[in-house]
């Protein structure tokens, strides 16, 4: 910063101080969670609060994984999130391709109906979805989770992918078509590989959405063996005495994969949310 003029330097330092203060506020709760996860039997907070545990232990993680189907919940969440991510990416990209490249009767009507449904708060539909799931025998079934998660994310992701497809040049498809390829070959061999950045965005967003989803899972899962992570974490939160170390060890296990995904795919996160903003 020494190359900056004096006033600029003062300005930059002020900005930095404010930003660092903000960053401290943003991460302090998380750091506190991490440290509590490594503290033994934390039924009440320590006084004074300590960010570095005085005698750190892995006991909480051991207890968490030994009890109440927690490892099972981790596996269930992974399974549901991967399946949701796959279904959304596949189906939303097919829909997006149809809207981006074809003209057909009903196109405008279907497109705007799907878009209009995005305004409806998802949780508002939980009552009829619950009745439907019961009727279809999908209570306690991960298929029921995946279908609702995929349907809920369909519109937004389709919209995001359609924008991406529309910007791809048509020449590639046209030459492939002259070579005799049909539309499905063009879609899978040409469009999808070109759309990899957008597909990654969709895949990551849908994975996280399913991984963290709580309400629908809470509503249709009663079988302890079927539970997903958010429900399992909730079960560690006792009604009277809560071992917070245990709660946060479980929480940390759920949060770490999402944070890793976020760090690796940061670019796509930014892309995904700003696309929504600029086109919305």
């Amino acid at each position: 910063m020494s190359i900056l003029p004096r006033t600029q330097r003062g300005f930059q330092i002020t900005i930095l101080i404010i930003l660092i203060a903000g960053a401290v506020i943003a991460v302090t709760p998380m750091v506190y969670m991490v440290s509590t996860a490594f503290k033994p039997a934390a039924y009440v907070p320590e006084f004074p609060p300590r960010f570095i545990p005085s005698n750190p232990t892995l006991e909480n993680f051991r207890t968490a994984f030994a009890s109440r189907n927690f490892d099972r919940a981790f596996f269930n969440s992974a399974k549901v999130a991967v399946a949701t991510s796959f279904v959304v990416t596949a189906l939303a990209s097919m829909m997006a391709y149809a809207f981006a490249r074809f003209e057909f009767p009903g196109k405008t009507l279907i497109f705007y109906s799907v878009l209009a449904m995005m305004m409806v708060p998802t949780m508002m539909l939980i009552i009829p979805q619950f009745i439907l799931a019961r009727r279809l025998g999908l209570q306690n079934s991960h298929t029921g989770l995946v279908m609702v998660y995929a349907a809920g994310g369909m519109a937004f992701n389709m919209f995001l992918l359609r924008g991406f497809f529309e910007e791809l040049p048509r020449e590639l498809e046209e030459s492939a078509l002259i070579d005799g390829a049909n539309q499905f070959v063009i879609f899978t061999r040409i469009m999808l590989p070109l759309a990899r950045p957008a597909l990654s965005t969709v895949a990551v967003f849908s994975f996280l959405g399913a991984w963290d989803e709580y309400i629908w899972a809470l509503t249709i899962l009663t079988d302890p063996a079927k539970r997903t992570l958010p429900i399992a974490i909730q079960n560690f939160r006792g009604a009277h005495a809560t071992d917070w170390g245990l709660v946060f060890a479980a929480s940390l296990t759920a949060v770490v994969p999402t944070v890793l995904l976020f760090i690796f795919f940061q670019r796509y996160f930014v892309q995904g949310i700003s696309t929504g903003a600029l086109k919305g």
């Binding site: 930059q12 900005i15 404010i18 930003l19 943003a26 991460v27 709760p29 998380m30 506190y32 969670m33 009440v44 907070p45 006084f47 609060p49 279904v87 189906l91 939303a92 097919m94 829909m95 391709y97 149809a98 074809f102 057909f104 279907i110 109906s113 449904m117 305004m119 409806v120 708060p121 949780m123 508002m124 539909l125 939980i126 009552i127 009829p128 279908m147 995929a150 349907a151 809920g152 519109a155 498809e173 046209e174 078509l177 002259i178 390829a181 499905f184 899978t188 309400i215 958010p230 974490i233 917070w244 946060f248 929480s251 944070v259 976020f262 940061q266 996160f269 949310i273 700003s274 903003a277």
Partner: protein, 320 residues
């Protein structure tokens, strides 16, 4: 996707019948009429089954004294559910709480989000790092952070909030945050703002990065200082983004549920209930499904109304 592989296997030499052009003259994209529908079919059927059909079905349910238990018959009661909801003081309280939550958290997220975006935009180093750190709370699960904030706002003197605030002299004695509705809301509001800032910050930042530097230079030549540049260049140019963030946050605010459900559970005596937590309570605790459906429809009507107002507003600002 079996449908797709079957089509792959079909011989390519089948003549193209009734092909339509996807774009005017010069294009070679010919396809049979049903091809686009095949692309839509899987996604659209899922969407129809789990989104569109429930939307209609819920409307139907809202006219019944709905019985979920087998063997009981649901009774048609016309508009009775809506009438009862509108007479229900707890519904109005939950709506008031929801509006209050929305106002507080939307203002907090927008003001702080924009301020941070401006600063991150101007800082010379570690831009990406700051952006990532501020976004971190956004990617963390609501369930986890709800418990985390409960712990931080513990009534114990060693609770992080109590400790920090007493040390800073902002509190004279530790507060039992959960014992009063007012202070319980402080937890929920703080959580809502803390978790949402990163989202609005990232969107504002993207908008700021789209403003040409020349405009600031021109404003500076005209003698505008930092604040003048912000008011005369930045604010007018990010107006669309501001509106988008505003509306998205309002809609999100109306859908607050998990933090309330896990932190106060709507209690004591429904005093901290928000619309969705009250709906969930009526439907899944009392099994008043028709009643819950009516609440849902009223909430959806409010949200859709806000979206329409926003769209009109967008159109107006575009014409200007």
């Amino acid at each position: 996707m079996p449908a797709q592989s079957q089509i792959h296997a079909r011989p390519r030499r089948v003549p193209l019948l009734a092909g339509r052009l996807s774009r005017p003259a010069g294009a070679h994209l010919r396809y049979r009429w049903y091809v686009p529908y095949l692309f839509l079919l899987p996604g659209l059927s899922l969407y129809l089954l789990w989104m569109v059909y429930p939307l209609g079905y819920e409307f139907y349910i809202s006219f019944f004294d709905w019985k979920i238990m087998p063997g009981q018959t649901s009774q048609y009661i016309g508009l009775e559910n809506y009438r009862r909801v509108l007479d229900d003081k707890y519904f109005w309280l939950s709506l008031e709480n929801t509006v209050r939550y929305t106002v507080v958290t939307v203002i907090g997220q927008m003001v702080i989000g924009l301020a941070l975006a401006v600063l991150v935009h101007r800082v010379f180093i570690a831009k990406r790092l700051f952006r990532a750190i501020y976004y971190l709370p956004v990617v963390t699960s609501w369930v986890v952070v709800s418990f985390l904030f409960q712990f931080i706002f513990s009534s114990h003197p060693g609770g992080l909030a109590n400790y920090v605030l007493t040390q800073l002299g902002l509190l004279s004695a530790p507060v039992a945050w959960m014992s009063e509705t007012k202070t319980a809301w402080v937890i929920i509001y703080t959580l809502g703002i803390w978790k949402g800032i990163g989202w609005s910050m990232v969107i504002f930042l993207a908008a700021l990065q789209g403003i040409p530097v020349e405009l600031y230079e021109a404003a500076a030549i005209d003698g505008a200082g930092e604040w003048g540049q912000f008011r005369r260049v930045t604010l007018p140019l990010i107006r669309r983004t501001t509106l988008f963030v505003l509306v998205a946050l309002i809609i999100g605010g109306f859908q607050v549920f998990i933090s309330v459900y896990l932190i106060t559970g709507g209690g004591p005596l429904h005093r901290t209930e928000v619309v969705l937590s009250y709906m969930y309570d009526r439907a899944f605790d009392r099994l008043w499904f028709g009643y819950g459906a009516a609440i849902s429809y009223i909430l959806a009507a409010i949200v859709v109304f806000i979206s329409f107002v926003q769209m009109r507003f967008f159109r107006q600002t575009d014409e200007e």
